[in-house]
């Protein structure tokens, strides 16, 4: 059942963790019936051993399990900065637990017993989110390399542009001519290979968000 054939890292894989043999087996059959690649594990630890963070994937896990619970598993993944989207399968009365799970990271939950389509929709959504995250991670690396090429003055101008300040205001604040600001701006666009102001605002906005949430040298904040 546990397919270990070599898989393209960028083709989607569903990790499935549940300690109940029947639940695991039936979910595996369901994923198989719609042709979703998946790998199944009977415990969180077993999964952690096999988990490949470079694999495009999402995780479907039971919330109540002996040993490491689903929530503890999510915590462990967060600590290791492995941001895989998680879908928790919960029983009746686990809703408060699930709410906590959603607060502490990218997570969705579905209550047993569920309609197959509901679960499949959530899986597709989670895989799409993971795909976007992975795509952005690649972009982020490139943009950071390009940001290193900016002079301090160019970086200063860029941050003000992203904040929405007009050239006139920036020139006045920095005590330079409007023409100079325009030149800095053009060089920023060129060095970062940005095609439009919208692209720049979106990309730098995301990077600022990451840097603001996680000051360098400290672990992920709660």
């Amino acid at each position: 059942m546990n397919k270990k054939k070599p898989l393209q890292k960028d083709s989607p894989l569903v990790y499935l963790v549940d300690d109940d043999d029947a639940i695991r087996d039936s979910l595996s059959l369901l994923l198989q019936s719609v042709g979703l690649e998946h790998a199944v594990y009977s415990s969180a630890l077993e999964f952690l051993e096999a988990y490949d963070r470079d694999q495009h994937s999402c995780l479907v896990t039971d919330i109540r399990m002996p040993g490491l619970s689903g929530l503890e598993l999510q915590q462990r993944l967060n600590e290791e900065r492995a941001y895989v989207p998680v879908i928790f399968i919960t029983g009746h009365g686990d809703v408060p637990m699930a709410v906590n799970a959603m607060k502490s990271g990218a997570a969705d939950f579905i209550q047993k017993p569920f309609r197959d389509q509901d679960l499949l929709d959530r899986i597709h959504k989670a895989l799409a989110r993971d795909g976007e995250t992975r795509k952005w991670r690649g972009q982020e690396k490139v943009i950071r390399e390009r940001l290193a090429l900016l002079t301090p003055r160019e970086a200063e101008v860029m941050q003000r542009v992203v904040k929405g300040q007009a050239n006139k205001v920036i020139a006045l604040d920095l005590g330079v001519s409007q023409r100079t600001v325009e030149l800095h701006r053009a060089r920023v666009m060129h060095k970062l290979k940005m095609r439009s102001l919208a692209d720049l605002v979106s990309a730098i906005g995301k990077i600022n968000e990451i840097d603001g949430a996680r000051p360098s040298g400290t672990a992920a904040a709660q």
């Binding site: 639940i23 059959l29 369901l30 002996p66 009746h92």
Partner: protein
Amino acid sequence: MAMSELQALLDAAVDAIIVIDDRGAITTFNAAAERLFGYAAAEVLDKPVDLLMPEPYHSEHKGYIDRYLATGEPRIIGVGREVVGRRANGETFPIALSVGEAHTANGRRFVGIIRDLSAQRATELRARSIEGRLAHVGRFDLMGEMAAGIAHEINQPLSAIATYAQAARRILERDQPAMTTLIDVCRKIDEQALRAGRVIENLRKFIKKQDVRTESLDVNAVVKDIMNLVDADAHAEGIRVTTKYANDLAVVRGNEVQLQQVLLNLTRNAVDAMRGSLSKHLGILVETQKGPDGGVTITVADHGPGVSSHLGDAIFHPFVTTKRDGLGVGLAISRTIVQSCGGTLTYRDNPAGGAVFAVELPVAKDDYSEQEEAAAER
């Protein structure tokens, strides 16, 4: 002593006194005997004493006397025994009978002294029925505490069934459905439905009002039978329950459901104690062992915080509880149940941290003969 004086003394006795000769004919029947059996002395004198006995004693009594006279081996003489008597109106009732033998100028005589046990039995029965009802209330209380776990344990197979069925539908919608897979899925659905049914059946059996009769019990079988509900409770908290069964355990006497109730109470407490414990992964161990004096010991060991020593034996008192839910009668009822089987329920600290509760049950008195009989039948 004058005959009339003797008769007056006999009639003053509180217990019934009946004398018979070696043919079983009644020679003396005192006033207490008249009251007890509802016959006037004149009606029964010289009549066979088996008149006062229901079957099978009625037909067999003559044989008892003949055998004694022939062999000289006493069965009841010199010893007391609980038997059944029959009144003039046909009603039967429990009696304590002791028989002595006398040699008189008129020949051999057997003296029977009889006490009515009806009232005592009624009191015992009432006490047992009150205990039984209390135990029943305790089981409801216990099930209330376990509701979440049981719901979870029924929801698991239901959820699997739903997913199997949905997957099967998707497979059927293909052009070339894989028949072998579908047959396999049907079998699995069937299995899961039975799994849910077993939980409900156990629950129903456990909650049902039971009679309080004691029977000979195979402790391992009794424990195995209740593990399904124990697992339901523990699994909901992500706690593993391990079992260890000793072989060749003695047969004990007790009430099956009540003994299971004791066990479930202990594991329930263990689950509560382990919730949020850092040693949760160590789980709970339920073990059967040979006990002292050939009896059986069942232990439930957890790795929770244990019971603080200042509470001591008070944990076995009713309404002493550290929990939010439940009445706090679990351990009190459990101890009453175990004691009514002649056993003990005790607490000790787990050397590995946590609590150990031990149920010690004495070997059933007729265990030896039963085993012999079973062996002979084989």
